[in-house]
Assembly symmetry: none
Homo-oligomer: 420 residues x 2
């Protein structure tokens, strides 16, 4: 399998003024054709440093794939650096010059000498035509047979060049057969270390397919990656591992391959013909926002109340003011009353509520910042409540409480499906 490293060129990348999305895009495309990306780099518009980086990569890998620094300005020195690194001169690539002349004629603008420079390529290189801009890309070759491929940094020019020119070259040169296939198992409600504990042995024993755990707040993904020559082979390698992992994490797996907690909730609601409403205090509309991010959510999500003020809890949800005064707004009783109020007033099958202390102020020793009560009220009487003490700042508490609420809703609905 061919191995490469990627080099993105541009001082703005080192200043953080431009987010480099090219590298992830190129990496993804290369993975699909079985080219192994072993490292990525960003360097400034510095000829010497670029050449140094190229030489470092070629020492370790079969080739380097670069983006950026092919423009007409004095800042653009990628081509010069490639020539330095591979000890090559330049030669004029006529088709690029002609294309550029036509381009400037059409615009009625005069061509500058620095534009002509763009039509020069390292001697002996394979040109990569650029129908979407003036700078052609190229693949230059060193005396050791290793290659340096260069593409423009503008994504609109780079992406078609990669797909239509560079990928075919790489497939022909390396005839890669093994592509990487992935399956992602999405879980909610389990910590990263708990997942690790449950599947640690699979982790250690499996090289191909390989397993990785990625945590996102209250959610975590288990990723299974198989290197294989065909989809069928990959599927056969992944399937038993997937079944085993799903079994060990049973009750916490809400979907695979890009599923979202809100999507899983809607699917279960649709299956039963049920609707849901929200009654949010500390999450301030975030649960409703998540539920409405799904296309077609109006069939299962009726609406909700953001009851930030205690007055609104009473007026819009019918929570007894005496209950709030006696138990406090952040309490099991108020959470349950909020959920019931939302379900009854919006006439849904069930409703979920949140009430908590998002911070930074408002915490007390008994009800510290981060404490959140959740409740579900259901028309079939199976209501429930739970509380969690979340860590982190206001944004973290709000985000984690939202994810927790979606997980609670999903567990409630999936338990229901199991028992019926």
């Amino acid at each position: 399998m061919a191995s490469v490293e990627l080099i993105a060129v541009g001082t703005e990348l080192l200043l953080g003024q431009l987010l480099d999305t090219n590298t992830a895009f190129v990496a993804r495309e290369l993975a699909e054709i079985g080219i192994d990306v072993r490292g990525t780099h960003a360097v400034g518009d510095n000829r010497e440093r670029i050449a140094e980086t190229i030489l470092g990569v070629l020492e370790r890998r079969d080739g380097a794939i670069m983006t950026g620094g092919l423009g007409p300005t004095v800042d653009d020195v990628t081509k010069e650096a490639v020539c330095d690194a591979l000890d090559l001169g330049v030669e004029l690539y006529e088709p690029a010059l002609l294309q550029m002349q036509r381009f400037f004629a059409r615009l009625g603008r005069e061509m500058r000498p620095n534009n002509r420079k763009q039509a020069e390529l390292p001697a002996g290189s394979l040109p990569l035509d650029n129908p979407n801009g003036t700078a052609p890309g190229f693949v230059a070759f060193g005396r050791t047979g290793k290659f340096v491929a260069c593409m423009p940094g503008v994504p609109r020019e780079m992406k078609p060049m990669l797909a239509e020119k560079l990928v075919p070259f790489l497939i022909e040169r390396f005839a890669p057969r093994d592509a990487i296939y992935t399956r992602v198992i999405h879980t909610i409600g389990l910590g990263e270390s708990e997942i690790d504990h449950r599947i640690d042995d699979l982790f250690r024993s499996s090289e191909n397919p390989k397993i990785a755990v990625l945590a996102h707040d209250a959610r975590a993904d288990v990723k299974i990656m198989a290197k294989s020559e065909s989809t069928a082979h990959a599927e056969a390698a992944i399937a038993p591992l997937q079944r085993e992992i799903e079994q060990r994490l049973a009750g916490f797996v809400y979907g695979i391959d890009g599923a979202t907690p809100e999507g899983a909730v809607h699917a279960l609601l649709r299956a039963r013909g049920w609707t849901v409403a929200t009654a949010e205090s500390c999450t301030g509309g975030r649960i409703a926002a998540a539920l409405t991010s799904e296309p077609g959510s109006s069939a299962t999500f009726a609406g909700g109340v953001v009851a930030y003020d205690n007055d609104v809890k009473t007026r819009a949800l019918g929570v007894d003011i005496a209950l709030i005064e006696h138990e406090g707004a952040v309490s099991e009783a108020v959470a349950l009353a909020m959920a019931r109020g939302a379900r009854e007033r919006l006439r849904t099958s069930l409703a979920i509520s949140t009430t908590g202390v998002a911070g930074p102020s408002g915490g007390t020793p008994e009800k510290p910042v981060g404490l959140v009560w959740f409740a579900i009220d259901a028309a079939d009487g199976r209501s429930c409540a739970a509380h969690v003490h979340f860590r982190g700042d206001r944004a973290a508490v709000q985000a984690r409480a939202t994810t927790y609420a979606l997980g609670m809703l999903w567990r409630h609905l999936s338990r229901d499906s199991l028992s019926s």
Copy 2:
């Protein structure tokens, strides 16, 4: 001036499955304090390759700054690689262990041996506490006096650690003098090209300070950057340019240096002792979520209704069902009725409403996907409505409509302040 390179760790970065936003963020923060980032790298979860990359960086620079690979799983090997590269053992960092024990106790979960591993740091290193997660960061030192700083890869944990722990360390160690100072002027309601047109001449004539325009949907930031040896010098260079730009963009500037539209809205509400409510259809709770992201927002934001279903518009907001049938849910009349219903029922000074077609389905020739009606109902009678046809997919329409609503609310409140 100190020079460093950044190293992001994670196999998912090399597969292009995760877009690395940490590197650009860290680079930007370092530029602000005058630390020169000379290169960036991403490497997989491979102990040997990480150690190799660290050694390469330390050969060229004063230090390496790393993100990722500090978690509890067997995949997380950044710390081990740092120890390999610098030839260091590990030692237990008691405060991190205690914090972790408290964390697991609170969750009622058992701590695993792999969690304990997270509290071990390379011998002699400076710990960087992590209030937002279990893995502490650290700065390890080589025998040559060069340093390797390691932070978690989760942005929510990394960002505060960088700002509160690592940046102060770097400033003290390198006492950078020529730092980059920035002032950001936040605008809402003007397109990027309109801003460009209004300040084009300033753009061209100014090298230091330098001006840049960054567009974010319906908002745009104008950034003034000055390289200077002191805050006072930078301030003197920036101030006249800032005044000129603010004048040219008058009526659209809602704040500077990290101000948010929701923060600007709350400030104007506070100044008048007013409260606001929301009545959201197509934005599905996103305006409420934005308004509740501000600490202390309960003083000025009472709550809201997410009236997704027409039934809920009637039941929870008192919108006449005949009006919905006659005008359609996406109409000026219904938007106004929703805002009035929210203001009256939640008893606030004013309320803002949205009703539109977020898509992908539900559009008609008269009411296409992306059409959104907005209305403000105010106790003082100055109500208004507007409609916009947003481009983009469902998520884009929802996000842009939310920003537009905040801008409309802000303009309503600031016009009011001017005229009174």
